[in-house]
Subunit: 340 residues, 6 copies
Amino acid sequence: MSIFRAAIIGGGNIADKNHIPALKQLSDQVDIVAICGREQTKARALADKHGIPHAFANTADLYRECSPDLVVICTPNYLHYPQTIEALEHNCHIFCEKPPALTAQDAQKMADLALQKGRVLAYNFQLRQTSEWSLLMRCQTDGLLGDIYHIKAHFLRRRGIPGWGYFTNKSMQGGGALMDLGVHVLDLALCALGYPSPEHVLGNTYDMIGKTGGKGLMGSWHPETFEVEDAAMAYLSFSNKASIMLSSSFALNTQADKDRNLEVFGTKGGVTLFPFSLHTELAGELADIQFPYLEDVDIQLKNTVAFLDACQGKPSNVCTGTQGAILQNVVDRIYQSAAT
Amino acid sequence: MSIFRAAIIGGGNIADKNHIPALKQLSDQVDIVAICGREQTKARALADKHGIPHAFANTADLYRECSPDLVVICTPNYLHYPQTIEALEHNCHIFCEKPPALTAQDAQKMADLALQKGRVLAYNFQLRQTSEWSLLMRCQTDGLLGDIYHIKAHFLRRRGIPGWGYFTNKSMQGGGALMDLGVHVLDLALCALGYPSPEHVLGNTYDMIGKTGGKGLMGSWHPETFEVEDAAMAYLSFSNKASIMLSSSFALNTQADKDRNLEVFGTKGGVTLFPFSLHTELAGELADIQFPYLEDVDIQLKNTVAFLDACQGKPSNVCTGTQGAILQNVVDRIYQSAAT
Amino acid sequence: MSIFRAAIIGGGNIADKNHIPALKQLSDQVDIVAICGREQTKARALADKHGIPHAFANTADLYRECSPDLVVICTPNYLHYPQTIEALEHNCHIFCEKPPALTAQDAQKMADLALQKGRVLAYNFQLRQTSEWSLLMRCQTDGLLGDIYHIKAHFLRRRGIPGWGYFTNKSMQGGGALMDLGVHVLDLALCALGYPSPEHVLGNTYDMIGKTGGKGLMGSWHPETFEVEDAAMAYLSFSNKASIMLSSSFALNTQADKDRNLEVFGTKGGVTLFPFSLHTELAGELADIQFPYLEDVDIQLKNTVAFLDACQGKPSNVCTGTQGAILQNVVDRIYQSAAT
Amino acid sequence: MSIFRAAIIGGGNIADKNHIPALKQLSDQVDIVAICGREQTKARALADKHGIPHAFANTADLYRECSPDLVVICTPNYLHYPQTIEALEHNCHIFCEKPPALTAQDAQKMADLALQKGRVLAYNFQLRQTSEWSLLMRCQTDGLLGDIYHIKAHFLRRRGIPGWGYFTNKSMQGGGALMDLGVHVLDLALCALGYPSPEHVLGNTYDMIGKTGGKGLMGSWHPETFEVEDAAMAYLSFSNKASIMLSSSFALNTQADKDRNLEVFGTKGGVTLFPFSLHTELAGELADIQFPYLEDVDIQLKNTVAFLDACQGKPSNVCTGTQGAILQNVVDRIYQSAAT
Amino acid sequence: MSIFRAAIIGGGNIADKNHIPALKQLSDQVDIVAICGREQTKARALADKHGIPHAFANTADLYRECSPDLVVICTPNYLHYPQTIEALEHNCHIFCEKPPALTAQDAQKMADLALQKGRVLAYNFQLRQTSEWSLLMRCQTDGLLGDIYHIKAHFLRRRGIPGWGYFTNKSMQGGGALMDLGVHVLDLALCALGYPSPEHVLGNTYDMIGKTGGKGLMGSWHPETFEVEDAAMAYLSFSNKASIMLSSSFALNTQADKDRNLEVFGTKGGVTLFPFSLHTELAGELADIQFPYLEDVDIQLKNTVAFLDACQGKPSNVCTGTQGAILQNVVDRIYQSAAT
Amino acid sequence: MSIFRAAIIGGGNIADKNHIPALKQLSDQVDIVAICGREQTKARALADKHGIPHAFANTADLYRECSPDLVVICTPNYLHYPQTIEALEHNCHIFCEKPPALTAQDAQKMADLALQKGRVLAYNFQLRQTSEWSLLMRCQTDGLLGDIYHIKAHFLRRRGIPGWGYFTNKSMQGGGALMDLGVHVLDLALCALGYPSPEHVLGNTYDMIGKTGGKGLMGSWHPETFEVEDAAMAYLSFSNKASIMLSSSFALNTQADKDRNLEVFGTKGGVTLFPFSLHTELAGELADIQFPYLEDVDIQLKNTVAFLDACQGKPSNVCTGTQGAILQNVVDRIYQSAAT
């Protein structure tokens, strides 16, 4: 097997702490040849830190000089679309940070071009690699859940508006709590149902706490420049009558600091994901089942492996470009519903 | 003050255990003059047990012979409408069991006629009299919550399909989990928002566990005659952008045997109702507030008092006919949404 | 179906509180015609209390005058053998209190004569009727346990030497903690293995706390007349290599006041009986399973029903005379091992 | 005091992580002069890592070139016997890993030759140095326990068949759970009774989970090469009527991942070892006593000190060669009982 | 033994629920011959309820007509002194409710006259009869505590100003939290030290919550007529350098609804009374000792027995007249300290 | 802003671990120019470790050669007075370790001279900088507590007599538990009341455990050289009737290893400091309020900042020389009370 030549686009925290370390652990499959950041100096420093040969300040140079086989896109949301299109035009596989894009239309174009080019386009939804999600998938396969018909998914923070980065900037991020947090659990919920597109979407977004200000638990934010939603609530209904209740917040007057979970209800069994417990009937009685020894896994490493598996045509549970387009479409429709 | 002459219509459990004992504790305001049941013998026995002078097997006799000032309607859901109309035509005040009626149209006619006749029509939603609900109302009045914009309301049973009565009979009850359980928390959620009618309603109903059968925790039910929903999920969106997520079930593969709660989110504070806790900011810090000494109250007694207060023109927080019509309209729209 | 004519032999607490109330609840199957106690006056008083027509001070009178179909023997241990033989000679079915007899030889004769006479001889081991034991049997049937190969069974009290009755009198009771407590969990353990007779038995008995005295938690006992073991420990090994560790005590310097449990280990799953939990593999992971809604049953009533079922030739899980003889043989061998 | 010249035989994990670090902390008493491993290169590397001058690939070279005063034997079980004999013939004191040997006969020869040569032979049972065991010994000395007459000792793993080393190889290890885990708690139990040899031994061994396979919690094992017992249960009875119940497992369908404990029952008090609690009578009442501030000690260091104390003729509670022979004899008799 | 003829003075709750039931259980020692209440009708009704022959509305009649041997005084505090003097003049033994009197001077006169008359004067401090206090006394006797040198004693209520009776009336009760609650734990603390009179007393009293009003947990009180202290804090220092910190409150912004406890510190061991735990050194380690099986006793019954024992000249731990005078002196000095 | 030139006097642990690291983090405000220790060599080594230019063995050299703007005094208690006077004479600001001095007289002279010289004299009571104390101050400012009238303050160790340093030496430390531990919570308690001087002080000191010996949890101490109190208890009463109960111990037979807390009672609310909880009335009900997200702060750094703020004339909550003199006066009066 030949080794992939990889390039990293975006030199921020997620490249430094997540993607580069994962790729370096997989040096038998992939070789990081270059990194491209906004500023040449910073890119060079990050490259040196990780022993990466080349550093660029624009992608044109990168493609011209290094001809990578695959790129990892770790830039702010508004760049996912143009950089993915560019990478596909250079025939690269793409491992892109979430969310897919600012709009459903863009995400669809990305998916379409990837198919046309025969390249892998994948999104980095790491929760898919948790032991809990793997076990839920296995329970579903083993018939322990029956048909899943309702899911409650939430990703809530009480006062977790990030005090850094572009998280409250609408034009760069496309949205707030839903774009940053909600998509993680929405992706899992759609997975559990086979990734259908919903028939009906009804939702609302809120921004009062964000715009008023208050005690921050992830740094202090600026109410006066707060442009995104601090909370988004939605209900999705599918043609097979399945439904999803989705809640996400950067700021909400709820008890827990952070709370991220799914409850999945099937005809034979129901699952609470974190910590995993299965509620069903066994031996003629109602039973609650715990799995106390689930492995603690490196979910970024596992997701990078899944992406590389996809690049090699192997089975993989990474989020595909097509799934990303469906998810982005749901996000769009929630925002549209909230606006009307 | 003259004393009300009351008649009880319906001789089942809820008359025997709830309404009659409450009315008897209020003998300075009300006198139970008659009871009307399906069978004369049973009605007579119940009347004797409680020292009630008259017992009838049909309401015509009741009205003719006793001329009550008010009636308490404790019959199956499908009788609420005709019996209320009849009572109004005899110029009675009415304290009717929940839900108001089988359809929104009926509930509206009931409310309209009550207004026209100048009589009190009230529904027995007792949760309004819990100490927790009273405290939430007080917190709202005191400005501790700010503006309420989102509510999660649920009333879930794991395997609580009643093994007795008409609960699984569609034509007599009009529905299942939503009609019997969901309405309780829906009424509270609407109260918290000022009882508006929602702009949009999206919902689904399910019946697979009910129709398949299994271990029952409230007696055994018959899957073959199970006609109602075992679960109903819905999302309501209001013109001021507030929203309600509503979940109700007779049977669901969830952990708790029974779980009934509201989470109310406002711009200044949020409340979990049972047990009551308030999440807000105080002295510049995020604060969680408990009220460990809330009184344990007799909620039926308090609701009966509230009804009698209304009959006397005093302020009262009992559920009014108009509110009942709005609530029934929501229920109708959830069923319609689920059916399409 | 004709109704059994039953007689109670022994007018103590266990007749008054357990057997008679159970039989009276089963009046469609059985009619208590007489009671026989040591003293005519007391027997008469007990009969009157329960509305039983006849009372006797000796069994000869009882059989002559009442000709019962079945007898319930609730006398001290040393009387179980002669009274059972006498009852069989009068062609009665017998429901006898535990333990079966003072010696294995007696218990075997009782079993043999019952078979010869074609009458039911059963012992009142009520733990067989707990929901937990029923569930364990169901798990075994459903293959959730695989082959059971080891059982730890214990029935321990810290300072529970009864301060009343004959419990410390060797000639009347035949032994102490093993005879009174250990037999309950030994019976279950043997059941789980199919009631085989062990190949090897090794055990010890102790009496130091009983003979020294101390703080009593079930009344005060008299060290100077303490003749039985305060603790008995044993190991049973079977021809199929299965094994049982058995511990029982009236008095032991252990933490819990009272502790009674079984741990059952099979090739596929293991069970802790109280509270019931199942330890196994599910969906490829180690799983711990709880059954939080097991029914609270009247175990005496269920065991009396099981006895009556046996009398009518129906399937029954009551402890049979043959099982009782095997159990008593194990008890004998433990005492013998301890004595050598 | 002259300083001991020590040699390490066996270059595996236990030498690297336990013995060498402990000896190095005791450099005022002992000097590690050489290490002997199966392969010269690995031995050399380990020696270099720890600053040990010499490294050998066979013991003959070691003795000829270095003439150590004492050796620490850290090799697989089957080498304990020949290497101990060889070391004694070179007049060395020996600190040997547990278990003593593959058979009781070998262990007895080792003990005999050590006595004859006047050298210290000691086994590394480190649990003797826990604060809990020291406290139990002190409680016994202070008379708080009275006479000890029953001990329950167990060392259980749910799925802890090691996925590395020789642990499942019968000819190299001599056995499985009993040889590797059970001996630790058996040594303590025998200590508590004064290290008598039991009069009677009854036991069983099992291997179904090991031979069937399953989820491993200490790596994955190979069912097809699993030759040892995955569980061993036994009962020991002594001439003074004391008794020990011993349970050990690599794999058992029990709740806890790992569970290692002793319960010691005496006439005046009983002890649960981990966490330590004492159950007794005090001031005329039943009392439970905790000792919340027991020191966290380096048990390997303390056991190495105890061995060196023995070498210097000082009092020591290290496991002696004679005790090791008694323990190995018990192990042999359990295996014999299980085989017949 | 002749049987005491007893009379009850005061027909309130404490007579009805505590003293009369206790005395009736001791009918082999005492016979209640009369009851004296403020109103003849009520006294008569209470007498009839308990089968007491005579009922009076003034004590003069009582003494003249009944000549009791002993009287139980259950009247408001301000009557304790005159009624005790009167009873002593009629040569009665006296069992008086706590506190002894309104002033130290009165209490001293009561004690002096009792001694002079050779009659028993005892106060009903029931906490002395709890199992916990008995065990503390036993621990002290057994030398487990060494010399006691400091005690923290508190009896605190958060909002427990009684909404009934005379508890907030200064002239009838003499004080508030200290008089009603503090004296209970002060009595125990003084007992533990041998009932010395303190050398120095420093204290404060407060009444702001009582005078301001608020949520009541023992009914609603009237701020405008609140005349007593809602909290009293004090420090007592003794000639042997021992000290007591005393806290008592009817109302205080503390966490617990009600909290009543003593911490007793001695040179060898310290005790927390409720639940009882002993902190000491044992076997060379710091030890915490619980006594999980203390008996639940009827403390009123035991204290009445103790009083009757005293009347019969038997050893008794009831609070004596002399102790009562010392205690009342401490109370006086706390109030004086607070006032200056 | 010019930068302060700082010198450290005393080269022990508290200089090395607390003061120097804090000052180095504030290099924009302060520059450590010298350190002065008892021994030149050790002082030099510490200076080198932290990159401090000068090291001296006496303060005369220090002042002559370096002319610092401020000094930090980290020496044993008996040196606080002379070194502060000397520093003031060199016109330095002083940040002195607690307690202020050995006597109230000395502390007063220190405060007086500082005022006269116009220099800042501050004491390092770091608990003032905990988030909990900041929140209490904020609650007081926001009116949530009303008027504070009683405080319970304690700093207790069970067996925490330090096994190192001069802590048990009376002439060098001036006292024991009160001087070392009690002053921390006494400072806070006085702060809460506005730092008044008490009208009355009553207290006791004890030394029996210290002089007898026992198990040590902070090393082993020497009973024969134990000269200070192992426990000090006191009560302070103020002219406005407020009161403080103060408890401190190095050794006491209490449950917790270490326990340090304040309970502050006001007319509107009460606070338990660690963990912070507020007990009050809200929305007409009794409420308990938690603040689960208080920041974990570097209290030494914050206190050093507070000292530097004071030096720059900014508002600061550091303990002033005047407050220190009041506190030392209270300590003196407690010792005097205990001695008489």
